[in-house]
Amino acid sequence: MREEDTQYFARIEDRLDEAFDLARAAKSTGYDPKTDVEIPVAKDMADRVENILGIDGVAERVRELEGEMSREEAALELVTDFVDGNVGDYDSREGKVEGAVRTAVALLTEGVVAAPIEGIDRVEILENDDGTEFVNVYYAGPIRSAGGTAQALSVLVADYARSLLGIDEYKARTDEVERYVEEINLYDKETGLQYSPKDKETRFIAENMPIMLDGEATGDEEVSGFRDLERVDTNSARGGMCLVMAEGIALKAPKIQRYTRQLDEVEWPWLQDLIDGTIGKDDDTDEGSDEGADDESATESEAGVEDDTEAESGGDADADGPDGSVRVDPATKFLRDLIAGRPVFGHPSAPGGFRLRYGRARNHGFATAGVHPATMHIVDDFIATGTQIKTERPGKAGGVVPVDSIDGPLVRLANGDVRRIDDPEEAKELQNGVEKIIDLGEYLVNFGEFVENNHPLAPASYVFEWWIQDFEETDANVQALRDDPTIDLEDPTVETALSWATAFDAPLHPKFTYLWHDISVAEFDALTDAVADGELVAAEVDGGTSAPLEADNEPEHGEEGTLVLERTPAIRETLEHLLVEHRQTDETLRVPIWRPLARTLGLSDDRERTWSMEDLSIRAREWDDGDNAIEAVNEVAPFTVRERAPTRIGNRMGRPEKSERRDLSPAVHTLFPIGEAGGSQRNVGDAARHRGESGRRGEISVRIGQRKCPDCGAFGFKAKCSNCGGHTEPHYECDDCGSVVEPDESGRVYCDRCEWEVESATWQEIDLNAEFRDALERVGEREASFDILKGVKGLTSANKTPEPIEKGILRAKHDVSSFKDGTVRYDMTDLPVTAVRPEELDVTADHFRELGYETDIDGELLRFDDQLVELKVQDIVLSTGAAEHMMQTAHFVDDLLDQFYGVERFYEIEDRDDLIGELVFGMAPHTSAAVVGRVVGFTTAAVGYAHPYFHAAKRRNCDGDEDCVMLLMDGLLNFSKEYLPDKRGGQMDAPLVMSSRIDPSEIDDEAHNMDIVRQYPKEFYEATLRMEDPDDWEDEVTIAEEYLGTDREYTGFDHTHDTTDIAAGPDLSAYKTLGSMMDKMDAQLFLARKLRAVDETDVAERVIEYHFLPDLIGNLRAFSRQETRCLDCGEKYRRMPLTGECRECGGRVNLTVHQGSVNKYMDTAIQVAEEFDCRDYTKQRLEVLETKLESIFENDKNKQSGIADFM
């Protein structure tokens, strides 16, 4: 590790130690369930694994093995240790298998996610029909967070342990096999699988699997065929099992095979058949084998299946080779499940959609998409920084980042101007005048994205980065041109560009390369005539009318004048499709920059036509069946012209960006139970004044944990004994026999006599009024210092341990609320950034120097606010909202330290800048490990920008995922495992352990696929035209993986594209600023009409099909089988009570689903179907549905009558 890195981590750890010391002092006062900080620091992955599992000795053994072998191999090696009893303290064979399986999953998920503890319920040994024994692994839903490979390997590990223990294989009964088949289909339908195995695949796996896969029911829907099986104790889908089988075994078969081959004890020869797809011909869908195979590869590649994508389009490319340009096949999957209000930006590979450009901007990579900020505004502000888009390729989804060093959109304005917009401010001004969005501009995707998704390289746009390398290969002295201040290589004048192309034999500069591949040869011919026949007029003649468009381009055309063509629909469209800027009047098309166009059309300097269609070769005329003029262009133009934008990428809006405080619903200030006494608001103040059944003010009866003071023997519910001040312990007394039980080593509390688990929770009468007043007094606050203090109805933790009310009082005072584990959280969409300017983070170079930053990315000393600096791995940028919330939290924490624990304050924050350098926890959903981060600045975008490694350490990528930050001291003081819900998934999302420093080798390896170079080589661009395998280019285009384990692993993240401001574009997506769903949908359809790349009828169909109809049908179904609820006391009834009124309180009972919520979309849906000319099928479905609604909600004998009835 480099010296500066050591210093960096030392700084973070010093601050961490400081916080720990103070937190320990506070905790030792004994007010909390435990007297010490409950989040252990894990130095490395081995530590985390041990901490999460709670199995001693694992860390040490993992560290030993890590040096010698891969993690997967280590997981298998550990099986032997478990079986031999060297690791873990298990006597039973079940325990040994279970320990090995959990450890394997923990190891493969870097000890971050909750899958090993929550996703595997237990392991059992059961009996086969022939009397032999087999192993049954019982999975639960959270196994999802482990990912396919770890899921699959968990089975392999179980099998390995099984064979070492000499247990037989599982022999599935026929009905069990068929049950797997039905169940996986059911789960796929209900919840959806990333990969849906075919019936024969499932059947094949089930028949051969040496371990029985079983699990908890995760859904309500039940199988209808193979029910009530003896060895399957539920009729519902077992989600965990389905995931392991489909996304684990079926999808990752090649990966598992690698490991089975290494093990002598384990043989899974059937994997080969699974991989080859040569599973015995049985029943279903075996159509013609060729056709079937094609279908299969098409659907699989659409699904983005990692291992199969190569099949995608390589074959087609070869086949089309001689007669047309290489293209990727359109993929439609991203359009599925379109939602009302979230617009489509481009249909699959449709012209006018985003144009693929290769490169990585500094705020880019790791499942993100670079879009020009002007485009964000032009699409009616629907895209903001951090908005998720579902995309056609290379991955499935991405978070949008603003990149202004790529092309912006080309639009036609109401005044007839067709122009490109590269300035976000201009885009904002013109937004309302846009008549048609002809082209969305470029879409930046980094090379690593193709590696990560194993997607063949798609043909690259011809762009400056490529052209300059072409140019450098000519005789031109490019270095001299670079040094010439009068020349801008990236943005040359017409004359210069044309001279470079002709004099040096370089392809025409991309700036003047139009999209010839989007017009046909016939259109090309027609345009040649039109341009030849055009008339030149001086630009001045126009006076003011066309000034904006032409003035913009003043320097180049100056003396030449504007070319005026006769306006015909065909020529107009051709110009638009070529992306030639021009102005349209009723009679004419005026092209200010026309010379590159004319020259490319093969016209002479005097615009004389020099060729006719017969002169073109057959090849050129029939290229792509005559639909692509690029070959014709190259035959007539005096220079080479490349395909400007061969790959278009369709996409639609996914989730909007997020930057919001995380409040439980309803918000909770204190995890203190008050039952129904606080009303629906759970108002502690009200509850304290409430007169309960006893008639005494504030006396409530709640289920709460009983604790006993070891010092004085007093009972109570508080952690600190109210009698003597000692620290109390949970007290377990058996309800039946009254004996007092102690927890065993695994934490279970079991009464041997009554054979059941004992809980410490009991119903207790609490004088809430006194408790509340005491708490107020202790922290020196009055009820007036907050609006409302909200508690909870009841506690869900095992011991029902309440929080001290004082914490809630101070939270309420500072308007922060508590999550289920006692921490205060703020959610933000994750985005990566590898280099920043202090200026854009609203901080100064001084701040950065204080944080230990010394130089900018070029090694220059850091002196100015606008210097570009490489971000350190654990540094994060907070959104404005997050910063405010962190400040409130800091005030709360300081008050807590001072007024409650009676120790010194920690933060003393006065303004936002005081947050700089402070530590936070970053934590993702479904994980159980927090990562320490350091605040270095702020952004107006509603996202959390951080180093990609920081996100990867939390096991997030940036495809629109969001996670939370917590203030360090808040986590240390207020988190307790005692508060966690005692149910499946309860341990997820809780910081059971923290990583104080990021080891790049121990993070989600997706981040290692990010490329970190300044330039992609020319050969790479050329390779894209052959759609080569991205893996072959890893050596030429360095990806981060290269530096793992070296001194350079924390630095050197270069980028190919800069961007002015990482928060450019709208601050919030229109999706969030528009009010009702109807407004959103209107805006969505309005935009669909404007976008050339979007088929608005299809959008309307999809909105109806995937949103309105399911909503209508679902609500109608819900209506006719709904629950009811008492409006007065909130009591719920499965069915309407015969009494009519509430049986509990006599109050008014009402429906939970009303007519209004059932048919709220009916009229709109019908109207949309009509207006957008949807299919008759769709219209009829709506018609039939409307009849059904009327039939339920209208009285036949009292129909609304028309005026005719009275005539």
Partner: protein, 517 residues
């Protein structure tokens, strides 16, 4: 579109605005080039004709330019085919039935069409009587009506004490109670607690696991009505149940029968419009009805799902043969025409039909009735009680069977023996007791789903399985379907019984099943 099947020819003609005689269709189908023949027939028929007759077709075939002699030969051969000759006779009646009223309804098969001996009466039809507007009170009303009707059946057996009165009684007393099942749960020690509800409140009833009646608990569905007898616990808080009663059909029930030998065909789930609709089987069935063997069949009852419908499940359009819902009914109507016109037909809607899904389902709206006006078929709501010459037939489509089969142990109800699930409904005297699950309820003033009268025959469909049997002398019939196995059914392991027609002798309630697939 290839025109090899009569169904397709009918559809093609319908799409051009024509109805057709059966024989005309047969003739077109039998011609060398049905497509061409059809086109020429359509060209040559008089402008005012709405119905293509056999004569029209013969004219065209005769005038065939350069008619192939062998083709003509096969034509005549086809015409002499016995099944076709049956069709000829049937057709003439169809024709008559279309245009002229009863006096022309004479049938060469010897079917008795004397309306004075036939009688057909429909009760419980709520079509056009729906008063519910989806308010909370409507729901309360319907459940109160259910309780009123079902508890009346139990009053003779127990002496009901309102739950409110029960809670004021002292411990140890004997008590009897009638209520809707509000909740069933098991205790830690394996006993059962059933909350019974009447119009005054609820009361918990405990069934000990070792009592004989504990086995009844497995069969309970929520919201059915039962009566219990037992003893109040010491503190009066719970009733220890000793015996349990269901509204049920009396064991000694003596069903009504017709005074003469006459038969009814009970079918359902035709699913016209589905790619899996078995047109050939249907045609064979219709042809058979024209034969002497079927001369005693004077009634045809169809228990729902005339057509496959639209939007029943996602991407259904990809599996539809006829995509337009109105065309589906047109084609269904054409298929109905091939049934002898002197058979009386009664139809109720099912869950695939274009009416509301929530039960009771009203009969079709006027537009669909117009399309299905053939044979003056009677259309009534689901469920309805149809009385044929004194025999009471409860027609119900059968959506609740899914739920009964899912909730009850497989020996009590399974897809392989759907009639056993029907026994359960008879025992509960309600066609769809459980609220909140699969079955959807549309609130009306009355609970049309209660079996107020004991039916003599209980006729359902929906599950596409054939099964019949007698429960306390009531004949329960689940007719199969006319749709071959769909991909969905395959995926959930349902092997449908397709192309069967159960035939019941109304004078004896004996049943035979004819297979046409």
């Amino acid at each position: 579109m290839p025109l090899e099947t009569p169904a397709r020819i009918v559809r093609a003609l319908v799409s051009r605005g024509y109805n057709a005689e059966r024989e005309a269709v047969t003739l077109i189908a039998g011609s060398d080039d049905p497509g061409n023949t059809l086109a020429r027939v359509v060209e040559t028929v008089p402008d005012d004709a709405l119905r293509i007759t056999a004569d029209h077709v013969r004219e065209v075939l005769a005038s065939a330019p350069a008619a192939d002699p062998s083709g003509t030969a096969s034509q005549s051969a086809a015409a002499s085919d016995p099944s076709v000759s049956g069709a000829v006779s049937g057709d003439s009646t169809t024709h008559a039935g279309q245009n002229t009223p009863s006096e022309a309804k004479g049938s060469p098969t010897g079917r008795n069409t004397d309306q004075s001996v036939r009688s057909l009466d429909i009760a419980n039809d709520m079509t056009g009587q729906s008063t519910g507007t989806g308010e909370y009170d409507d729901f309360v009303k319907v459940f109160r009506d259910r309780y009123a009707k079902l508890s009346k059946m139990l009053r003779g057996r127990v002496n009901h004490r309102p739950t409110k009165a029960l809670s004021n009684m002292s411990g140890g007393e004997d008590a009897e109670l009638i209520g809707l099942v509000d909740d069933v749960r098991s205790t830690k020690s394996g006993h059962w607690i059933i909350d019974l509800e009447d119009t005054t409140g609820t009361f918990p009833c405990l069934v000990m696991k070792d009592k004989g009646i504990a086995s009844y608990v497995d069969d309970l569905l929520l919201d059915e009505c039962i009566a219990v007898e037992g003893t109040l616990s010491g503190d009066g808080g719970i009733l220890f149940v000793d015996s349990m009663h269901f509204p049920d059909v009396p064991r000694s029930y003596r069903p009504n029968t017709a005074d003469r030998h006459v038969q009814a065909a009970l079918i359902s789930d035709v699913h016209v419009g589905s790619q899996e609709f078995m047109a050939d089987a249907w045609n064979r069935f219709a042809e058979w009805l024209h034969t002497e063997e079927a001369e005693h069949i004077e009634y045809l009852l169809i228990a729902g799902d005339m057509v496959e419908g639209v939007g029943i499940y996602p991407n259904q359009d990809e599996e539809l043969d006829v995509i337009d819902i109105y065309d589906q009914y047109e084609v269904f109507s054409e298929h109905l025409k091939s049934v002898p016109g002197d058979i009386d037909i009664v139809m109720i809607p099912g869950n695939h039909d274009a009416v509301r899904l929530a039960e009771p389902q009203p009969g079709f709206d006027d537009e669909l009735r117009d399309i299905m006006s053939v044979h003056d078929a009677q259309i009534t709501s689901n469920p309805s009680m149809v009385t044929l010459e004194g025999v009471k037939i409860l027609m119900y489509h059968g959506v609740s069977l899914d739920e009964v089969i899912a909730e009850l142990p497989s020996e009590k109800a399974s897809y392989d023996e759907p009639h056993k699930a029907m026994y359960q409904l008879l025992k509960k005297r309600h066609v769809a007791p459980q609220f909140g699950g699969h079955t959807r309820l549309a609130p009306e003033e009355l609970d049309y789903l209660v079996m107020e009268d004991v039916p003599d025959i209980f006729h359902t469909g929906h599950v596409h399985k054939l099964g019949w049997g007698k429960y306390h002398n009531v004949l329960a019939v689940n007719s199969g379907c006319w749709q071959a196995q769909t991909d969905f059914q395959k995926s959930v392991n349902i092997d449908p019984d397709s192309g069967y027609a159960p035939i019941v002798d109304l004078d004896t309630l004996n049943m035979t099943v004819r297979k046409f697939s």
